[in-house]
Structures are given as C-alpha cells and as structure tokens.
Amino acid sequence: MKNIDSKTHTRGKSIYLDDIPLLQGTLFGAAFGSPIAHGIIRSLNISVAEQMPGVIKVFTAKDVTGENQIGGIIPDEPLLAEHEVDFCGMPVAFVVAQSDDAARAAVKTITIDIEPLPVITDPREAKARGELIVPPRTFSLGNVDTAWQACEYIFEGIAETNGQEHLYIETQGAYVIPQENGALKVYSSTQGPTAVQRASCRVTGLPMHLVEVEVTRLGGGFGGKEDQANTWAALCALAAHRLRKPVKYSLHRMEDMAMTGKRHPYSSDYKIGFDKDLKMVAYEATFYQNAGAAADLSPAIMERTLLHCTNSYFIPNVKATAYSCRTHLPPNTAFRGFGGPQSMFVIESAIAKAADTLGIDSAVIQKKNLIKTGDEFPFGQKAVSEAAECWKKAEQLYEVNSIREGIKDFNSKNQIYKKGLALMPVCFGISFTNTAMNQARSLVHVYFDGSVSVSTGAVEMGQGVNTKILQVAAIVFSIHPDRVKVQTTSTSRIANTSPSAASATADLNGKATYLACTRILERLKKVAAEELGVDENLIELKDEYVFVNNVQSDLDWKKLVNTAHLKRVGISEHANYATPEIYFDKAKEKGHAFSYHVYGTAVTVVTVDCLRGIYEIDAVKVVHDFGTSMNPAIDIGQIEGGIVQGIGWMTMEEIIYDKEGKLRSNALSTYKVPDIYSAPKEISIDFLQSDKDNLAIFRSKAVGEPPFMYGIGTYFALRNAIKAFNPLAHIPFNAPMTPEKTLLALYSNPQPLSKEIKRKDEEAVTSVAIN
C-alpha cells in the first residue's frame, strides 16, 4: 500500500504548519539570540525595538508567567536567557509584532552588553574542566583488565565524528491561538506533542488540560523536532497567553541552523584486543559526547551510545565509559540513531585500525566476530541474532568476492581513479531506553456508517507511520483501507504521549491500535453471533463481510456496525499498550533494554578521483532484517533515505563552529547535504525475511533508524580507496571524509606502520597518537 499522503503531497495540498490559515489579528514573533557563546548579561536594550512600528511587545525572561525553564531530562535550560548566555543564538528576547517583517526588523535593533566568559567547544576540554551534564556511566562485561593479557594483538587510538544538521526542509515553528477560558491551542511542527504541551504549560503556568497541542504532519524531523520544537512553541504560547492574541513564529533557515542543536559530535578513545585467530577478546572505549550548553536529550543519547558500543559483534570483555560534556554550543539533540551511530563508528575504526596494521581486509575481522543468538551484549541482554545470516546472504547475493577481484583489477589499471569496498554490519536495538516511554495509546471510533477514525500519539513526518496504523485497523477489521482515517495527533485525544522517535512509533502506536480494534472486533463478533443465531466462535470478519464457519453471510460490515450501535454496543475504544519484557537497572547497568534488535549488512563500493580528491558512491547493497514487512514500499523508502542521510554524515556534511562558538556552516550554501548526484548510483535492498516471533507490529520490524548506519560503510570504503592510491596514507579516523580530507590523505606523508603492531610479549603498550 502506498503512503496515504502521496496524493496531497504531489498536488501541494498537504497541510504543514505554514499552511494553517491565519486568524485575523494574528501576531508574529521573532527571537533575538545571543551574539556570543558565553557570558554574563550586563544589560539588554529593547527600548528601540519596543518603539518600532507594528511592535506589540518584546518579551524577556521577566515576562515569563510560569517557570522560565524548558529542560526536559534536567531543568537546566531557561526559555529566555536571564543572567547568563550559554551559546550563540540562545534566545534572550522575543519580539511580537503585527507582521513578520516588523518583528524581524525590531529584532535587529536589540542590543546586548555581555561580559564574556571563556568559551569551550571541545568535549575533552569540557571534561577536563569537570563540565559534565550528568555523571559518567560505564557498561562492562567480563573483565577487560585481565583480558588484555590474553590478547595477541592490541590496538588503540582515537576516533571522531562531527555533528550533523537535521535539515528537515520544513523549519521549526509554532502557531498558538488563545481559546475561551484561558486555554491555548498550539499548532507545532513537533515530533513530541506532549513535550511541547509540557513546555508550554511550564512557562505559562497553565495546567495541561488547558493546552491542546495538535500536529497534522511535519516536513521532516529526523530527531530535530523531538525536543527542540519546544522553544518556539513555548515562546508563542507565552506571548499568546499574555496578549490573548494568536501568535505565530516560523523560523528562517539561518535562525533554525544557528539556534538549534544537531547530532552530537563525539571524540572517543578505543582499545581493542584480539587473540591469534583475530577473535575479539577485549574492548575498551571512552566516549566524550559534545552535549552543548544544556542537557536536552544528551543523557539518553549517551546511554544509547553505550548500548551500541559493540555494534554487531560479540566481545566477552568490554568496558565502555561515556561522558556527556557541557560546551558552549547550542544543546545537541536527537538525530536518527540517537548516539548509536557514533559508537558504531568507533568500533569500526578500531577494526579498521587492526586490519590496516595487520595488512588484512577488515571484513575478515568483522565476519569472525559477529554476534550469535545467545551471546550477551555488554548490558546483559542476550542476543537473538540475524547478524551472520545478513552477512552471509550479502556476501553470496552480491558476490562480494568478485566485487573485490573487480576492484583489484580496476585499481591496477587506473592511475587517477581508485575504488574501495567496505562491509558494514549493523545491529540496532528497538525500544526507548527509558522504559517508561515504551507506552502508547490509541483511540478508535467506528462510526455507524461504517467509517473508522483512528487517533494515536504517532506523528507523521514522512516515515509513513499513519499508513501503517491505517493498515492495522483495516487488517484487524478486514475492511477496505478507504474506510479508515488516521486523524491528526492531538494531546486532547491522546494524552501523555511519547515522542515519535526511537524507530518505535509504528510498533507502539500500531500495537495500541491493534488492541483497540481487537476489542471492538470482539464486541462486533458477539453482535454478529446474536444476529445470525450462531456460536460466537464460528464468526469471522473477512473482506467486509461476516463469515460463519468460513461461509459468507449476508451481514456486511456496514450493517454489522449499525446493528451494534442500535443495540447500544460500544463501537469506540481507547487502548493502552506497554511493551512487555523490557527493563533496565541503572544501578547495575544491566537489563533487557530492547524489545528486539534489527540486523543488516551493507556492501559499499566507491570511486575516488585521486587527482581532485572527490568521489562517487558506486553502490550500496544491503541485506536487511525486516522481520516480515507490513509495507515494503515504505520500508524500502526508509532504507534508501537512511543510507543517503548516513552517507551525508560520513562525507560532505560538515558542521563548522569557530573557537568563539559561532556556527560558520550556517546556511545551505555552506552546509551541504546530499543532492541527487551524491546518492549512490545503485542501491540494492534484499529482505532477510524471518517469521521469528518478536514484539514488532505484525512482526514487521522497526525500520527508521537502523539503515542510517549503513552509511558508515562509505567512510571505510573511501578509506580503502585512498589506501589503494597511497598505501601509506595517513588517514585519521575523523568523519566526515570531505573532499578536503580525502585530498589531504591521498597526498599525506606516509606514517611508519610497523611500530603499531603490538605483541603481548612486547614491553609497554604505547598509545598510538592520531593526528
């Protein structure tokens, strides 16, 4: 089934925040952000702005009627800066005017005097100064300290990944309309309607039942609107609450890029040890997460980093420590993969380092160490693994050996162009790591004309969740999909929602919908049994008809629901779903964190132009563990999109902050995401079909985040191509591999390799500095 929004999307008829008709008298907001990254506010001058034509009011911290606080996990983030600014672009004042132009013109007249304080942009520096968002956490399995003794080879080094701008094409924004009796209606481009509701209530002082948040759809989210939609909605809510007028704020791209957080950059240390057969024996990693100026979701992201530190591999002795480091950048936030990609890059770097030094292909090490069913993750959960199945199928289906031979041949014949290959296995856990968030509700109404309305907490942002939820209702009732409408997401219809995140939205809200529909179905069967005078157990609904003992009756869906209504049988239901089995003990750092894992393997081939230092992605070929896909068209779309977004992170997407904490890559002209020519020339996707029991909706495994990490393969394929040109190239593990880094690596001074092999009988294990 195609995405149910295809028709309105292609006709330009879909409704996004900016398409909501404005009420007469609507006012427009614009935020004034701090021009410097860290300092004490000496004075703020808004007097000129207040006198500008069309300006209604300039809000500052003192105008907050509730609490000047929007921090979700930790209350460490004021809505409007009060005494101190902590990052460039931190909102300090909010101008509300009769037009968007007037508000923006007034913002330009605001001046601020700030006594500058030292600016930290580097997470290791922040850690050294004790600037941590939360205490560090360590996951361990076995005993690394003794395990090093058993290692034949040990390698260590540093691996770094840069951030990533979400670049949802629809920028952040909100529109708040006062209702009677002091209530507010909030339209927000958010993945977390409840988070927006909570933040709006907190700053206005209103109770939650007076603030309704409604979302039709987003023009992309990718995690960027999980928590960071709150600021704009809370600002508009505050203004609407005070002024009793509708207030809208739709960010310009440069404001959005400068004021919002991104994927966390990480700098990490790794140490990996192997036995003589290249089985992984021990792994130690220390992650320095660049959290930015406030907690936002960083502690949860840090947790997922630890939960994915061994990717698809089983390592008996692991010690992984993570620090969430406070710097003076905009608070970094959720982004597809949520800390998982960062730690996967580190272990893949460790493997590449070992392979480089030993003069073998990384794939030899990767394949040998894939996690098997029954193996333990460092956090205690036992794997139910498809890792080897995906790997082997990819090797066979895509004839990896002949690809390898072809590349060897190509490279021997070409001087300017070199090709590189890399395999990237992925193992990604599905569930919110905060156990309490693994719940969802669904409200299903069957109307007596036979049409069906479904409301859930899921937010549609392109991932096709509404289509899947519609399918659930249509399948359970066995009716035509046209009879079902998935409604907007509203906190008045569905309360206390988890954000649409963690790839779990279709599972959680789909299961809740399944429960609600099933309960209605049971009641309908009872009605049908009464009507037809047969035993209830013989009743089934198929293709819009009641079947008795597999024989179609005259009673169709419409008649059945109408009969039920006349008999005063409830044909509405509100169901609650809570994922079973999962728990986590933070004291022990052990538990069953995930309802299941998604596995896959990607084969990536690239070509590097060694004269110019530029490259093309020839192919990404994937075997992906779908479980049993309930919508292959949508799932393939998620995989293709995830791969290209992952490739962007690993290649051209480069966030640049200067030492003063100012964003230099602050527009689409300076921050580049993949265009149509950057996409791989070929993407192949093969379904690893499995019907093993799992907690996915209809056994259709979650698909949002896992494919993103296939993109990591591109980095290592590029590395291999560079090495084909210059075997002694010095290539620090520092993503993204931009054309600049590629060219510099191609022509880098060769580094002596021999010293880096460390036998256990050698005296000291010296750290090999990168850079």
């Binding site: 670049l167 094409i169 629809e170 739709s250 293709e640 290209v644 580049k672 265009d675 149509i676 020519y677």
Partner: protein, 443 residues
C-alpha cells in the same frame, strides 16, 4: 500554498515554480526558485505554481511520483513535481539524464533520491512519444498537463510589456539587478525598499552572437542561454559537462553572466571561466561607454572599477582557434549544486609543442577572482612538459593568498589548485605521463 519555503537562498528547490516566456516568438518554460525571483523579473511572463498543474486527479507526473513512493514527508515534493513539469515542457530530449538534470536543484532529505529517479524514469517514458512535436502541444494533447497551457502563447503575445515609469528612473539612484540569484540572498530586506532597475528582461542586453572571430555575449544572457548557444557548443565542446558543475537548473535559468561578474565573488564560476577567455567588458552609464578587460574590473574584495551608474552593456572575447585549448575545473564539498572550494580555467594556444598564449585563472584563492598573470606569463614560450607544469604550480602558489573558511583550509586550497592545474593539462594533453604528475607532489 503548495509552494514551500525551505531555505530562502535558492539552494533547496522547495519553492520551485515555472516561468513561461516568449523567446523569439516561441513559448519556453523554465524552472525558477521563487525565493530569489523579484516580481520585476517575471513581468509579462506566465508563472506556474503546483496549483497551476493540478488536474482533476493526479496528473501523470504526480502519478509517477506517487507510484514510485517518491514522496515521504512531502515538503520538497511540489518543488520536484514542478521541476519535472519543467522537464516535460522543455524542448530537450526525453531521456533519463535530462529528467534527472531537471531536478538537480531540488533537495530531498527523506527519500535518498532513488525513488525519485525511478519516478523520473517513468516520466521520461511518457515523454518519449513526443518525437518532434512541440512540448506544450504534446503535454496538453496527452493530458499530462492542463489544457490551458495551449493558450498561453497567445495570451502572452497580447500582454503589454512596458513597465510603468521604468524608463524615467534616474540611473544614479538605482540599484541594478540581473537575475538576482546572489543579490537576493545577500540583501533581500534592503532590496524590498530599494529603487531597483531590472536588467534581466532587457532584450537588448541578451543574445549570444558571433562576429568574425569574436563572440559577443549579452550581459543579461543567462547560463541556460549560454548552454543553448550554437557558438558556445561549437567552440567549447565540453561546455555542458563543465556547466553541470555550476549551480543548478533553476539558478542557471535565472543567473546572468554579467551578474556573476558584478557580484565579484572571489569564487564566481563564470568569472573564472571568462577570465581565462580574456574577456572584455563594455561598460555604459547610459550615455558614454568604455571598454575594460574583465580582469581589470577587480580592484580588491568586492571593489570594482565601475561607477555606480555604470552597467555592463556588452561582453566579448575572441573565439579559440584550432591551436587553442580551453579547460575548466571546479572542486566543491558537494560536487554539484555547491560553491567551489577552488575553481580554475585555462586557455592555452600551443604551436608546435610550444605554448604561445596562456591565460590561467583561479577562484577561491584570494580576495578577487584572479587571473594568474605571472603563471600565465611563465607558461608563454614553454613546452608542455611535466616539469613546466610543476614549475607553473610553484609560481601559482606565490600568486595566491587563500584563507581558511567553510569551503576549506588555506592549505587545502593551495594543494587543490595545484591538483587542478595538473588536471587542466591532463585533460588537454594526452601525451603527458599521468603517473609522473600524480606523484610529483611534495608535501
């Protein structure tokens, strides 16, 4: 409502519309990014938003997009649909390459583009039956686009094109605007209030023609006009390949050559291109004209040898003879639809193995788009050898002063310029030993 705001600087294509205009009496539709299009530039034209191509049900372009699952969040989709409609309305060959080129200015963050490519393939199939038929006739006859398109040509012919009061504007107080593709990125607010004199639509400033061995380029000719020119195609056989590296289809449809020169970006692609052609400008203040070699226009960062009331009336250069070779190279973080880290062009005349004339230009390596005069001078009178090339690179390094910015560090830009100079020679002279050139770098 279907036209979306994404970036406000012509870089995402979410706001793409089509603009229909009569060119030599023929109706031509081109895609524009509406965010950078001032009303003054669409005077007398047919502007089509997605609403203008909607039919009772999905039109076949939209149907192909839906069938291929080429839309996810949908925010970029109207822009893609419009660009593809532009492809269907164009007189280009109906092939996959051209269909994909039509959407080279559209960014999608969800799909990874493969499904959109598949949709473009299906649309190409639809268009393959066009044959020699006129595009508008074909798409209306086959219900690909609404029937009203068939009447637009006639309706445009009836429009009066005179702008009220335009000719009376005192030139000295006016801000000139060409395509506006950078102007409206840099100062959109200011221009709302400014007294703008639009040069974009002036027929007298358009056109590309050959007279003797000279090529005259109208300053308001767009990049797309240049691509369509027989002269350019004949004398620069790689022109389209090189232009593919420069911006995107809608921006090329809007951007003028003179605008690129006057914008004075140190990295302007066409400035670099025409510097190597040793182009000459004819500047006019409306009364007097004067000639100025392009490379003399630049006095410092965004400082021009041009009075405010002067505008470019003509551009000319000598067409290359049979011993003259031209090449253009550009590397950017993203190969397409990006501003260069370094760009460079070269024109060499080689007689009996000796370089008799040389013009080498480079962008992104200093405050102005630069003609590397010393390097060019060095090359004159020398043979094309690996040693000469390396020496030339050394001299080029002494002429440049790149800074570190979002497009690369200064060290990278220096290395890259050297590589691109090698690339010029490798592209033009097959006798050179590639390996020797590749390994001759000393770092």
């Amino acid at each position: 409502m279907g036209t979306k705001i994404g970036c406000r600087e012509g870089d995402c294509g979410a706001c793409t519309v089509l603009v229909g205009d009569l060119e030599n009496g023929e109706l031509q539709y081109r895609s524009f990014t509406s965010c950078l299009t001032p009303l003054g530039n669409i005077h007398g034209k047919h502007v089509v938003t997605v609403e203008g191509i909607n039919m009772d049900d999905l039109n076949p372009i939209q149907q192909c997009m839906a069938d291929a699952s080429a839309t996810q969040c949908g925010f970029c989709t109207p822009g893609f649909v419009m660009s593809l409609a532009g492809f269907c309305l164009s007189d280009q060959d109906a092939n996959q390459q051209n269909a994909v080129a039509a959407i080279d200015g559209n960014i999608c963050r969800c799909t990874g583009y493969k499904s959109i490519e598949r949709a473009a393939g299906k649309i190409t199939e639809l268009m393959q039956q066009k044959g020699n038929q006129e595009a508008v006739e074909f798409v209306t006859a086959n219900n690909i686009l609404p029937g009203y398109f068939a009447s637009i040509k006639e309706r445009l012919q009836k429009l009066s094109l005179a702008l009220n009061g335009e000719l009376n504007q005192p030139a000295s107080t006016a801000q000139f605007a060409g395509g506006g593709t950078d102007l409206y990125v840099q100062k959109p607010e200011e221009l709302k209030e400014a007294n703008v004199r639009f040069l974009y639509n002036k027929d007298v400033l358009k056109g590309i023609r050959k007279t003797g061995n000279k090529c005259f380029v109208g300053p308001s000719a767009t990049v797309t006009d240049l691509q369509g020119s027989e002269v350019m195609r004949q004398y620069f056989p790689n022109f389209n390949k090189q232009v593919k590296l420069i911006s995107s289809t809608p921006i090329r449809n809007m951007a003028t050559i003179a605008g690129n020169f006057i914008n004075a970006s140190p990295i302007g692609d066409f400035t670099i291109f025409f510097l190597a052609l040793n182009a000459t400008l004819v500047l006019s203040d409306g009364n007097k004209t004067r000639e100025l070699p392009l490379h003399k226009l630049y006095k410092g960062y965004k400082t021009l040898d041009k009075r405010p009331e002067e505008f470019i009336e003509q551009i000319w250069f000598e067409l290359p003879g049979k011993n003259t070779f031209f090449n253009f190279e550009k590397v950017s973080k993203r190969t397409h639809l990006d501003i260069a880290s370094v760009n460079t062009a070269i024109q060499l005349t080689v007689v009996d193995g000796t370089i008799t004339e040389a013009h080498l230009s480079a962008g992104g390596v200093g405050p102005i788009p630069k003609l590397l005069e010393q390097t060019s001078e060095f090359l004159r009178g020398r043979a094309v050898t690996e040693e000469v090339i390396n020496d030339a690179i050394d001299i080029a390094q002494s002429e440049i002063s790149p800074i570190s910015d979002a497009r690369g560090t200064s060290g990278y830009k220096r290395l890259l310029l050297g590589q691109l100079i090698k690339a010029h020679f490798i592209a033009l002279f097959p006798h050179l030993q590639v390996k020797k050139l590749l390994l001759s770098h000393s770092s």
